[in-house]
Each structure stands twice: as structure tokens, then as C-alpha cells.
């Protein structure tokens, strides 16, 4: 059973990470929060209409509610009476509240309880089988989410160029006739159906973690859109699977643990990403400081080259006083200069090598 839960979790994560990438790049991450809340409203209302939890109409209704949130927020914002952030923050709690009230008032009629709305019931998902006649084809939610994932993938492949352009240069996309507004709503529909699909397994809030955290992790690691999509799928799937394992190991709620693992992966990327991570950034800054100091030293030496004061100015022991560096720092700088072949040291005297001289000259000319 744990294998099937891992399978479902992996599929959910993969399907979520595709729209997540574009939400992150378009700076609309919080729309996923808004949409995933209002999806509940859509599910409840459409349930009252069709009275069947397995009907695909539920999906349609819920997706419509997601789009409704976006449209309502935009309408509110367009009145210019409130700012954009407040307009998002007003619509989805209202819809979510109506959903929760309906569920708790009619809890007897609906097989949904208000806690499951938040936590999802992935542990129970394997019990809900997809049957073809008498043949058991596996858990139903794996199929549902698989289809959602395929839809996302198809949307991505069909409109990759358009999405890319509209994301990075909406103005140009509009000029070329790509209709960024249409793509925007396409993306919002994609987010909505993904949120509905994932709702059963991970509930309405943690889907945000599965959409945004893997995409943010990938964003720390790459500058290429294609790579980012791939990395985000990979990191989403791995964190989902690790999350399920951890949940079984610590006996905690599965969806919550998956979200935590997604967060941990993101924290790792944040710290140790090769180019943009905090740690490597720290090293880069320190490195740059040293390289710059090296150039300063080079200019200093070149200035006094062949002058009467050369001997005094080029003395290692005097450098730190003249350039106001600490002893340790000047020793490091000199070592770096020698290692890179810019400097020579005879006794206590520093001299530029031909390479060093040329480098310094070209630097000075550049300015």
C-alpha cells in the first residue's frame, strides 16, 4: 500500500510542478493559494447540483470556481477602490468560507469533513479503486491526477513558445499577436484543474507547497526554462516520495510531511545552489573582494615602478600600511597574486610579472 501512496504522491507532485513553474516566473505564486481555496467552493456547489462525488462535472465546477476567483479579484482591482493584494485577499476567503459553512451544515449529506479539506486523505486514496468491469486498474486518484498531469503537459508542449514569450516579455507577445490574456486564463484554468485533482489527496492548502516549492527549488538552480520545468518535476516527485516515506517513519500526516520535505528541498537549494545559493554567493563575494584587492595592489606597484621610492613602496611589510589592509588580508592578497602569476616576490620586494603588468594596464585603460 505504501507503494501505491508513493505512486499517487509522485503523480500529484509531477502534475503540480508544471503550472508551478509559470506561477513562480510570472510572480503569481499566491494565485495558487487563492485558487486552491476557492476550488472547495466549486466542489461543494457542483456537488449540490450533480449529487455525485465521482462525476467529472465536479472538476468542471471546481475549475470554474478557480477562474471565478481570478476574475472577481481582477474586477475588484479594476474598480480602483482597493489595491491588487487586497483584492486577492478578499475574494478567496469569502468563497472558502461559504464552502466550509455548506460542508459543516450539510455534513451528513456530503462525504467531506472540514479537516480533510485541509489535510487531504492520501492515506485512504489506494482504497478507492478504478475498476474496468471487474479488472482492477489501480487507485482512482492516480488515474485522475495522471490525466490532469497529461493535460498540463499537453498544454505546456503545445504552447511552450507562447508561454515562454508571454512570461518573459508580455509586451512583445502582445505585439506579435499571441494574446497574453488568453494564455493567462489558460494557465489559471490549468492551476484550477490541478488544484481540484490534487484536492482529494493533499487538501486545499498543501497543494500550494507542491506547486510552488519545487518550482522555486528549480529556479534557484537554473536559468533555462526547459531545465527549470524538468528540475521542478524531478524535485517535486522526489520530495513527494521522500515525504511519504518520512510520514510513515515518523507516523505523521502524509500531506503535511510532503509539504515539509518540499520546504526542506527548497531550503537546501536556497543555501547550496551552485550559482545563486546563499553560501556560494558568500564565497563569490569574498572572492571578488580578493580579486579586486589584487588589482588595487597591482595598480599601486605599477604606479611606483621605476620611481625612486619603488623599493620602499614595494616592500611587503609596507603594503598593509599604504593600502590600509589588515596584515592577514594583505598576506592573503599577495598569496593570491603570486598564485595567479601576477606577482613575484624576491626577499621582501614585490614586483609585477609581465602578465601582471599587462593585466593592470588593460584594466586601467578600460576605465
Amino acid at each position: 500500500m505504501i507503494f501505491e501512496i508513493m505512486l499517487i504522491a509522485g503523480i500529484v507532485a509531477a502534475a503540480c510542478s508544471i503550472p508551478g513553474v509559470f506561477l513562480v516566473l510570472r510572480r503569481m505564486s499566491l494565485q495558487s493559494d487563492a485558487i486552491s481555496h476557492s476550488v472547495l467552493f466549486g466542489i461543494v456547489i457542483s456537488f449540490f447540483i450533480v449529487k455525485n462525488f465521482n462525476s467529472p462535472l465536479l472538476m468542471v465546477g471546481a475549475a470554474a470556481a478557480g477562474v471565478l476567483t481570478v476574475v472577481l479579484s481582477e474586477l475588484l482591482f479594476k474598480t480602483k477602490l482597493i489595491k491588487e493584494d487586497a483584492s486577492i485577499g478578499l475574494v478567496f476567503p469569502a468563497l472558502f468560507s461559504i464552502g466550509v459553512i455548506l460542508i459543516s451544515k450539510f455534513a451528513g449529506d456530503i462525504h467531506l469533513d472540514t479537516d480533510a479539506v485541509l489535510t487531504g486523505e492520501i492515506a485512504l486514496a489506494p482504497f478507492d479503486r478504478f475498476m474496468m468491469g471487474t479488472v482492477d486498474l489501480g487507485p482512482r486518484s492516480a488515474w485522475v491526477m495522471g490525466v490532469v498531469g497529461l493535460i498540463n503537459l499537453a498544454f505546456l508542449l503545445c504552447f511552450f513558445k507562447e508561454l515562454k514569450l508571454a512570461t518573459f516579455d508580455a509586451g512583445l507577445a502582445a505585439t506579435l499577436g499571441f494574446r497574453p490574456a488568453l494564455l493567462h486564463y489558460g494557465l489559471m484554468i490549468m492551476v484550477s484543474i490541478t488544484a481540484v485533482g490534487a484536492f482529494d489527496s493533499v487538501g486545499s492548502i498543501l497543494v500550494v507547497a507542491l506547486m510552488i516549492a519545487p518550482a522555486a527549488t528549480a529556479y534557484m538552480l537554473t536559468d533555462s526554462l526547459v531545465v527549470m520545468v524538468l528540475l521542478s518535476i524531478v524535485s517535486g516527485v522526489i520530495s513527494a516520495v521522500v515525504g511519504v516515506l518520512a510520514a510513515f517513519a515518523f507516523d505523521t500526516a502524509i500531506a503535511g510531511t510532503m509539504a515539509v520535505v518540499c520546504g526542506l528541498f527548497f531550503a537546501l537549494a536556497l543555501l547550496f545552489a551552485p550559482r545563486y545559493g546563499l553560501v556560494s554567493k558568500m564565497f563569490i563575494v569574498r572572492d571578488r573582494k580578493k580579486v579586486f584587492a589584487c588589482y588595487t595592489l597591482g595598480v599601486h606597484l605599477l604606479n611606483h615602478e621605476g620611481r625612486p621610492e619603488e623599493e620602499r613602496e614595494s616592500d611587503v611589510r609596507n603594503i598593509q600600511d599604504h593600502l590600509r589592509w589588515s596584515q592577514k588580508f594583505s598576506r592573503q592578497v599577495v598569496a593570491t597574486g603570486i598564485r595567479n602569476g601576477y606577482l613575484q616576490k624576491n626577499e621582501m620586494q614585490l614586483r609585477l610579472t609581465p602578465l601582471g603588468r599587462e593585466t593592470v594596464r588593460s584594466l586601467m585603460n578600460r576605465g
Binding site: 493584494d85 487586497a86 478578499l90 469569502a94
Partner: protein, 371 residues
């Protein structure tokens, strides 16, 4: 008739405090465009609550609120430092912190539910809020925190106002902006955590945003806005709490949010000068005024062509030239004695009408020259 027994008074007092505090600090969240930060803070408070209970095994409101504050505050700090120091954008890190902290909270809650002590019941009230489980003890703790927060905002009113509307000016006057921001943010965290038990983690952000956004429509002054917002907040949260404790199976948070949303919708529709209804009426009035001026101008030019004001022009001519609702406008003009009708389909300017037409033309030319 509602019987004000012990429970109900507690609920009303608690609701009033929650509404007051979220109303007051919501003003800052809305004006500083940090509405969605409230959502993040309230969600990230959950693991703090769960952890305090898990480690200390206590349910004293002071301990739980402190736990909530620490973890909400931690979430806020992560958001600001990551968005300042890395390539990750503000919205992304907000969404990540919100969902991951909340996930951690749910995971910890699930651990708590497996504890052998039966004491754990009632922590889930922090998810959707439950007014009817409130005790006097809770109200005292909330009152203590609220008093401190309100005193601070009273003392630093001017500074907060300046830092909200004109950061650069405030900085140039030497106000410690970073410190002020931190204090204000911490107070917002306090306001949110105070309300968690009542409104719940999931919907607390609406309590922060909606009263202030509604109050904004009624005034342009920050002091007045704060008072109105506090009033709206109290109104919604007291009535939400009362409704949910009198009607069966009605969770407090969602009903409070529904009420405050209604208040907000009412405000954007009917608030004077800013409200949509008002704007619509104003626009219609302006359209009318412009149309009247245009008709007078046309009559003026017609009169110019005839050397004499006394000449009646064909009404049909005006009707042919332009204007929907021309008959209403002409009736209006003749009521104001700016035009005279001959009865035989003729129309002419009166002396007053001539004056008005000249000033209208002057105004048009003046603004044309200016632009």
C-alpha cells in the same frame, strides 16, 4: 432574546477584542500593500501552537499564543530575508512559507492526535476557529496583548503614519524606518495570533484585510479609517461569534468572514464619493451637465448666424444634430429659464442662457488653450 450568560459574554468580549485589533492593524496591512502577508503569518503560526503543546503539554492560552507569535514572526523574517537576499521573489517565498509551515503544523497536529493523553482535543479549533470553546482565561490573555499593542500604536501613531505614506520623507527626518517596520510587523503578528482561536488559521487574513478595505471606502483620513475599520471588525467578529455559538454546526471563522465580506461589498457599493453607486450617479450627472452646455453652445452659434437673439430656431435642427435624450435636456434647460420654447417647434436663448453659453465657450477655449 439572547440570554447573556457566562459563555455568551465571554464570546462577545473575545469577539470584540479580535475585531478591534484586527481592524486597527489591518489598516496598516492594507495601506502598506501587505494584505497577503497576513495570510502567510496566520498559516505559519500553526506549527508554533502545535509545538508548544507537543513539547510542554500545556494548553494555557498564553503559552499557545506565544508559540504562535514566535513561529509567525519566524515565517515573516524568513520571507523578508529571502526576498531581500536571493533571487527568489516575494510572492514565491510567501507561498512557500505559508504552505510549508502549515504543512509542518498539520504534521505536528497529527502527531498530537496520536498522543495517549486525551488532553489534545480542541487544538483543531485553531484551524477554523471556535468561539464557543473560549474561556474567560483566554479573554484575559487576549485583552492583555491587545492593550499593549494598542498602547504602542497610540504612542507611535505619527511615526507609523509617516512610515506608511512617505518612507523617504520619514527616513530623511531621521526616523529609524527598519525598527519601525519591525515593530509594526510584530504588532500585526500579535493582532493575527490573538484572533486565531476565534477565526482560525485559515481565514484570519480576511479579518485583517476586509475591515480595513471596507473602511477605506468611507474616508480619506487615516485616523477615521482606523476607527471605522475597528468598528467593522468588531461588528463582524462579535456577530459571527454570536451566530456560530447560537446556531448549530456553524463554524465561527467562516461565518465571521461572510459577514465582513458583506460589509465590504456594501461599502464599495454605497460609500459616499468612492462607492460604485456614487461614482455612477456622479458620472451620469457630469454627462448631463456637459450635454446641457453643448446645447447652449450650439444655440449660441446659431444665434450668431442670425444677428438677433430673438430669432426662434428650429428645434428639429438641434434634434438632428445630436444628443440622445435631447428632449429631456431641453425641458431641463427651459425649466432653468436658459432657453425659451415658442410652442411651434422653435427655441431660443434667454439672456441668462446667453451668459451661460458664453461662459461655457470661454471655459472650453480656456482648457483647450491650456492643453
Amino acid at each position: 432574546m439572547i440570554d447573556f450568560d457566562y459563555t455568551l459574554t465571554t464570546v462577545v468580549l473575545g469577539g470584540a477584542l479580535v475585531g478591534l485589533l484586527s481592524g486597527v492593524f489591518g489598516v496598516y496591512a492594507v495601506l502598506r500593500k501587505q494584505s497577503l502577508l497576513g495570510d502567510t503569518i496566520s498559516h505559519s503560526a500553526l506549527p508554533g501552537i502545535a509545538l508548544v503543546f507537543l513539547v510542554l503539554q500545556v494548553k494555557h492560552p498564553l503559552a499557545l499564543i506565544l508559540g504562535a507569535m514566535v513561529s509567525g514572526w519566524l515565517g515573516t523574517m524568513i520571507i523578508s530575508s529571502v526576498s531581500n537576499r536571493t533571487r527568489i521573489k516575494l510572492d514565491t517565498i510567501m507561498a512557500v512559507v505559508l504552505a510549508v509551515f502549515f504543512g509542518l503544523g498539520l504534521a505536528l497536529l497529527s502527531l498530537i492526535q496520536k498522543l495517549p493523553t486525551a488532553n489534545q482535543a480542541g487544538l483543531t479549533k485553531f484551524l477554523y476557529g471556535n468561539a464557543s470553546t473560549m474561556l474567560r482565561q483566554d479573554v484575559y490573555v487576549m485583552a492583555g496583548f491587545s492593550a499593549v499593542a494598542l498602547i504602542v500604536v497610540f504612542l507611535l501613531w505619527k511615526e507609523f503614519k509617516l512610515a506608511t505614506f512617505d518612507v523617504d520623507f520619514a527616513r530623511s527626518l531621521g526616523f529609524p524606518i527598519r525598527a519601525l517596520d519591525m515593530i509594526l510587523l510584530s504588532l500585526i503578528v500579535v493582532a493575527i495570533t490573538i484572533g486565531l482561536q476565534m477565526v482560525g488559521v485559515v481565514l484570519m487574513s480576511a479579518m485583517l484585510v476586509a475591515p480595513a478595505a471596507a473602511a477605506r471606502q468611507w474616508t480619506n483620513r487615516m485616523g477615521v479609517m482606523t476607527l471605522i475599520s475597528a468598528f467593522f471588525g468588531m461588528l463582524a467578529s462579535v456577530s459571527g461569534a454570536l451566530l456560530s455559538s447560537t446556531i448549530e454546526k456553524l463554524p465561527t471563522g467562516p461565518s465571521t468572514v461572510c459577514i465582513i465580506t458583506l460589509v465590504f461589498v456594501f461599502s464599495i457599493l454605497f460609500a459616499p464619493t468612492r462607492g460604485l453607486l456614487w461614482q455612477g450617479l456622479k458620472r451620469r450627472y457630469n454627462h448631463g451637465e456637459i450635454a446641457l452646455a453643448r446645447i447652449l453652445e450650439e444655440l449660441y452659434w446659431l444665434a450668431q448666424n442670425h444677428d438677433s437673439l430673438a430669432h426662434y430656431h428650429e428645434l428639429r435642427l438641434l434634434q438632428a444634430i445630436n444628443h440622445q435624450r435631447i428632449d429631456t435636456y431641453i425641458a431641463n434647460l427651459s425649466r432653468q429659464k436658459l432657453v425659451e420654447l415658442s410652442g411651434a417647434g422653435g427655441i431660443r436663448l434667454t439672456a441668462a442662457g446667453l451668459e451661460r453659453a458664453e461662459s461655457a465657450i470661454e471655459e472650453t477655449n480656456g482648457s483647450a488653450a491650456k492643453s
